[in-house]
Amino acid sequence: MTGADVVFGLLGIVCLAAALLVVTARNVIHAALWLVVCFGALAGCYLVLTAEFVAWVQVLIYIGAVVVLMLFGAMLTRAPVGRAQPLDSANRPVAALAGVATAGILVTLVIAAFKGAYVDIHHTAVGDGHVLGTAIFRYFVLAFEVASVLLLAALVGAIVLTRQERD
């Protein structure tokens, strides 16, 4: 039980608790905020795993853009601020069953497969910007280009979808 384990474990608990609150909060805005906490904890987890660049990207993009976008979306769709409507559908029991089953199966699988696996964080190359940049632009540049086209398509698509006809 190294220090990394402990730190990771604590961060994991925070992350998990936040995630559970995201999916059970009655207020959509609260859920979004709990999502911020979850993402933040995850960024910490990445840092423990020596993936620096990914951690910063997580904070920048996920927390900075995605959650903000969701907040915009929630407000634009007149999400009731406060405890007005029940936020859970009638599918709750089935969903709970599915969630618990998924958790059980996956955890069992994972522990059975990787029980003794050990990440040596002291002798891995830290995934900083230099390393990752080299990796992307040397080995995955095609995927990078495709991803940029994808973003363009998403941008255009979002605009087209939300355009309103002028009379």
Binding site: T2, A4, D5, F8, G9, C15, L16, A19, V22, V23, V28, L35, C38, L42, C45, Y46, L49, A51, F53, V54, V57, Y62, V66, G73, A74, T77, Q85, P86, L87, D88, S89, A90, N91, A95, A96, A98, V100, T102, A103, V110, I111, F114, K115, A117, Y118, V119, I121, T124, A125, G127, A135, A143, A147, L151, A154, G157, I159, L161, T162, Q164
Partner: protein, 113 residues
């Protein structure tokens, strides 16, 4: 550190995401749950990248790409939710059942004479 901690965390996050997708009524809340699932996958990718000591850092690279895709998806997804909201003034998924197969108007079946 033990790999299994990361993997277990990832599994539990994924399960929470599934619960959220299936149980929430508000479309935006469902999108949040989807983000949880994506993040669980990302954590897996990064954890395995560290465990393998990958020279190419394929795991982290793909984690980045997942972030890109997730961002694009949230953009388009919210655009759709917005259109849905404009159409029917509500984003409750319970009410968006236009694709349901409703019973047709009952006509008595006559045998051929």
């Amino acid at each position: 550190m033990h790999l299994s901690i990361a993997l277990v965390l990832s599994a539990l996050l994924f399960a929470a995401g599934i619960y959220g997708v299936l149980a929430r009524r508000n479309a935006v809340a469902v999108l949040m749950a989807v983000e949880l699932m994506l993040n669980a996958a990302n954590l897996d990718l990064v954890a395995f990248d560290a465990w393998f000591k990958d020279q190419l850092h394929a795991g982290q690279t793909f984690a980045l790409f997942v972030v890109v895709i997730a961002a694009a998806e949230v953009g388009v997804g919210l655009a759709i939710v917005l259109s849905l909201f404009r159409l029917r003034d509500s984003v409750a998924l319970d009410d968006a059942t236009d694709l349901a197969d409703r019973d047709p108007v009952r006509r008595p079946v006559e045998p051929a004479r």
